[in-house]
């Protein structure tokens, strides 16, 4: 059956911006899926989603002395979301909730205000080009929100 899809903006523009956001470093991070999996007995767990695009991040953490001893995530989402979760998987161990709060704020500032990426988590540089693509900010932020929610859950009495 012959039918043309309604185009949302020029197809060429879409492809151009897609190639800027989805560059090799993002693809490599998403494919690496560092930290993907589940913990046997998590201290805290959270599932957050973006109701507009369907991305879902399930994050589990174990704490030791108030710091992240282990974490695992399962992401159903776009490349940006999976890549951001992978960065968390690489760097979050050893951090305390305050560190994660700071990094998470830093990520939002980088996306919204073009602030320099938060120090110490080098791979976050890969997300600098997402600035200006407002609809995609949440894709990057979602895994951080999941981690913060999991940390809050871990802090609650069970």
């Amino acid at each position: 059956m012959r039918r043309r899809e309604a185009s949302r903006g020029g197809a060429g523009d879409d492809e151009l911006s897609a190639s800027r956001i989805y560059h090799e470093a993002i693809k490599a991070l998403a494919t690496a899926a560092i930290g993907h999996g589940a913990l046997a007995a998590p201290d805290g767990r959270a599932l957050v989603d973006n109701p507009l695009c369907g991305d879902r991040v399930e994050m589990e953490v174990n704490l030791s002395g108030g710091r992240i001893a282990a974490l695992a995530h399962q992401v159903k989402g776009c490349l940006l979301c999976r890549a951001a979760a992978s960065v968390i998987g690489k760097h979050a161990a050893g951090a305390d909730p305050g560190d994660i709060e700071r990094i998470s704020m830093g990520v939002s500032q980088m996306l919204e205000k073009q602030a320099p990426p938060p120090a110490g988590w080098q791979e976050l540089d890969a997300f600098v080009p997402v600035h200006g693509h407002r609809s995609r900010y949440r894709c990057v932020e979602l895994p951080f929100q999941a981690l913060l929610a999991a940390l809050r859950a871990a802090g609650e009495p069970r």
């Binding site: 059956m1 012959r2 043309r4 899809e5 989603d49 109701p51 507009l52 369907g54 159903k76």
Partner: protein, 231 residues
């Protein structure tokens, strides 16, 4: 009917699955087909098996065409139409398909779209399609159509559907969109199955409005159900 075969048929139908029993009238030898596997002592040729499969999909019983004395009894559940994507087209397709006798299930992880307000009276599942399919257990009387326009959601649905006995798999998108999709699915190791996807989806009725596209999809699903893929 042998007890073992009867128990298998009972188990299949109790689990909500579809099955067909083939009996050779000359001696009463029987086999059972559940859409994927054959059980029982009656051996059928490949062509005959395919014909029984088509009868099960269409929930038809009777003598097997071209065979001397083989009787087919289909125990098929009502056909299911699984719509991936709570899109505009789906808002028309879901009620139309329900009226046409399908059990309709709409799947979309985007909760903003998969809302009861937009789909009154429709079974909605706000999960990722591959996870939803694990619960739904796609069978020989299931049809799957993807309508999200987002490969992130459509692709895993198509991968799961192509690995299932679903009788129809369709995907919305232009020829150009489908060429890209076919390349992605081939890369994912489904090269031999990509040809099963009906794309562009639906019979060519000429209409372009969402409600007209819904009619063309429903018409194609019904056509494949009764005429098979060769139609």
């Amino acid at each position: 009917m042998k007890r073992a075969l009867y128990e298998q048929l009972q188990a299949a139908t109790a689990a909500g699955a579809s099955a067909a029993v083939v009996t050779r009238l000359a001696d009463g030898a029987q086999s059972l087909f559940d859409g994927e596997r054959w059980e029982g002592g009656l051996e059928l040729a490949g062509e005959q098996r395919a014909a029984v499969h088509r009868m099960l999909v269409a929930n038809r019983s009777g003598m097997l065409a071209g065979a001397e004395n083989l009787f087919v009894r289909s125990y098929a559940r009502p056909p299911r139409l699984i719509v991936v994507g709570a899109a505009h087209i789906s808002q028309f397709l879901a009620p139309m398909a329900a009226l046409a006798g399908f059990e309709v299930i709409v799947i979309d992880p985007r909760r903003a779209f998969a809302s009861a307000e937009r789909f009154p009276g429709v079974t909605l599942i706000d999960a990722w399609p591959d996870q939803a399919f694990e619960r739904l257990k796609l069978d020989a009387t299931s049809a799957v159509v993807t309508l999200t326009h987002d490969p992130k959601i459509d692709d895993p649905a198509l991968i799961a559907a192509l690995g299932s006995p679903a009788f129809y798999v369709g995907a919305l998108g232009s020829t150009r969109t489908h060429a890209k999709r076919a390349a992605r699915l081939t890369e994912a190791g489904l090269g031999d199955k990509v040809g099963r996807i009906h794309a562009p989806v639906g019979l060519d009725l000429g209409g372009r409005a969402p409600r007209e596209i819904a009619v063309s999809i429903l018409a194609e699903v019904i056509q494949v159900r009764y005429r098979g893929e060769a139609a």
